[in-house]
Symmetry: C3
Subunit: 326 residues, 3 copies
């Protein structure tokens, strides 16, 4: 639990090429990749998609977010150990996308983004302390928790604009009216991957797959399997059509797939079956949390991935000789 | 935390009379009874009540649920230690009643039941790992948590039929308009016991009392005391009338009574006072959670029992020389 | 975790002047002050404000609450160690204010108050056992949790009167229409401090500041800074106007300020910056929880303070040589 030692960043370390790589690794770690090139390709995908959607501030948000949360780790004097492999930054990158997607870009949302991104860095240390006895870690939950605070608070603050958040409603009627056809399905499948960074673009999904292949082909394959399987599950159970078409049943499942399939376990027969069940269960947790938060108009963010992955890691089953899934 | 050892079930163990007893003990463990005959009598009570209500699939659900979750323990290769006393199965039995009571019987709800029942087995291992440092266990919370996921998800999936779930509403007006009279009160009192398995039948309550007496007379007595005391408390505070008449303030209190009165403590003066307070508090937790979930139209299931029992075990008070309540 | 030893209160200890001081310290501990005079001044402030508001039962509730929960500690035979410095009583004092503020005074609300105040004493032992491995404690959460149960339950029980609770609504429109002017701002600032005990009176705020100065001038200063800073933050972000005017963005921030600024850390440059960030974040958590509970019409009580303080203590940063913030 000793989170502070002498191996810290100095001011001079920050204006180096090494530090740029650290920041890029932060983007890569959103999907568990300790790889600066992967992070760069993720960013390119994010910029492509954000500009395509007419939301360029979302892409800039990702950049600001990852930089702010990485610098916060330096300022707090945390041990370099986590920092240099990008573990301070990934929550901040997601905060940047999340805050700007839902609250738009304004003076206030910039302040919120900076506060929220900074906050994820120490919230992560705190949550990891909480979870350490159980041999699991906080995954993207620092992003989820901190962003929830600002998104909910926005509804009680006129300074923050909530028009991009869903209207609070009691759960009720919805349409299952998905436009099938092979081309459409491919688009939903790719969007499911792009939505990991809240980007609603199939091109972004392609960039993300390429980015994963650069670092770890198992991760790339599990991301593709997970998005397909979650799409299939959502269609079979005839889930909310609009969400299916926008890839919103995919992103959490993609993260569960990468986590269980190629991060906390290495891929073998048993771990693959475990991972596939985990992906399917993630779809139900996604649907459940969508409903749970309907009256507050709050998005689930990647919480379904966190909950599912914790559920599948907590039993500490050993599907690999050398790994307990912790 | 080592949940896997060599003492596992083999395929040949499954087609034996011993295994049938294990499954029946699973039903018995819903009320903490390691007794196959008790489980059998519970099942008879469930079948009687379910057929009387015109919901035979609920009874079959209990059977399928307990078998699926018990087999899941075998498939996962868990240590026999918990399995042979029915601890893999009780959550599954409740899942069977819960899923079919609220989602009806359809192809999709059968799939949901099987997934959900299987899931409880490893969720229980995970939750027990979470709670072990605090010397408490997960009680029926694996059933509660897993079933909540599928019941909430059902509102976002046209495949699953939600017409048996309460309509999502903002908490508001209700009637206290209970038909008193000794005969009616006896019926509500017995229904409070029958509702432990979600069965709305006073005859089922009688079967359950008999089943408890077969195994442990203290458990039977505490179940009767708890249902009476919770009924009394709900009437005094003039709680929702329809729920009182259907025994819905009783079932969690009955479980709290058995847990605190005759399971985690043995019955003596101090532990009895403690148990009685626990039963009364359970009624308020039941009412509170009913309101908390009104906007999502989600039933509390046995969560009030879990919360109350944890609150009364966590302080680790030693009311018995040899037991700390853990 | 051994909460019971031989150093307990005897019946004869209860009718002593020492015991009166213990009860007063209980009131003082609401703001972390182990000081009977501070507790007495708090009580005077509470009585002044409650009578001014025409709600004298709220002041009597505080007295009954602190006495009931302190006596519960004696009855449970807990070790004197916590008791004699008022740690059994502070949750009960808040319960007294909370139950009577929101449920009015009636036979039923008196029963609820006594049950709820008593309950906080063992819930505190239980929650502290839960949090001990993480080197944090339960703060005022036993009050929050127990009172939530009774406030929610009240909506399902005609015996308890809910007309003083907010109407359950979906989050929606609100006014930011704060009457500015220096005099008004001073009133809102003082009300922010008075609301720690749910008292809507600026005179009460003055009493509380004086009471804090008697015990610890850093605590007094941090309370004043926190109320001012939270007021400023809420105005800048144009939060719900009526809540700003009633000091409802202040009380949790005041507690965070005292906790981080002068209780778990001693005041130095680094800990002060940490505390200031904590106060600002508390405002967002307050707004977020207000929205989260809108559909149930449930007040946050001091939960935002607990959540914020835990978030800032969990990382275990050492801003003082001798203190880890635990």
């Amino acid at each position: 639990m000793d989170t502070i030692n002498d191996d810290k960043y100095k001011a001079k370390d920050i204006f180096t090429f090494e530090f740029v790589k650290t920041v890029l690794k932060g983007v890569g770690q959103v999907m568990f990749q300790n790889n600066a090139l992967t992070g760069l390709l993720f960013l390119i995908g994010i910029f492509w998609g954000a500009f395509e959607e007419g939301l360029p501030h979302v892409a800039w948000g990702a950049v600001i977010g990852v930089v702010v949360s990485t610098l916060t780790g330096c300022l707090l004097g945390l041990s370099k150990k986590d920092g240099e492999i990008g573990l301070w930054g990934f929550n901040g990158a997601l905060v940047g996308c999340g805050i700007f997607t839902f609250l738009g870009s304004s003076f206030y949302s910039w302040v919120a983004l900076i506060l929220c991104a900074a906050m994820t860095t120490w919230v992560r240390v705190g949550f990891n302390n909480l979870l350490a006895p159980f041999k699991i870690n906080s995954l993207t939950f620092p992003f989820v928790f901190s962003t929830w605070i600002f998104l909910l608070a926005a509804r009680a603050m006129k300074g923050l604009d909530v028009e991009h958040l869903a209207t609070p409603l009691l759960p009720g009627y919805f349409d299952f009216d998905v436009h099938m056809g092979f081309g459409n399905l491919i688009i939903y499948w790719l969007k499911g991957i792009g939505q990991v960074f809240l980007i609603n673009s199939w091109v972004t999904g392609l960039f993300f797959i390429a980015a994963l292949f650069v670092s770890n082909r198992y991760s790339a394959i599990w991301a593709m399997v997970a998005s397909a399987l979650s799409l299939f599950t959502a269609i079979i159970f005839r889930a909310v059509g609009l969400d299916i078409e926008n890839g919103l049943f995919g992103f959490s499942a993609v993260l569960t797939g990468i986590a269980l399939g190629s991060t906390f376990y290495t891929t073998n027969l048993k771990s693959s079956i475990w991972c596939i069940i985990g992906i399917v269960i993630t779809v139900f947790i996604q649907a459940a949390m969508d409903i749970l938060f309907t009256p507050m108009g709050l998005p689930t963010l990647t919480a379904p991935f966190c909950v599912a992955t914790w559920l599948f890691l907590l039993p500490l089953f050993k599907w690999n000789k050398d790994k307990t899934g912790g």
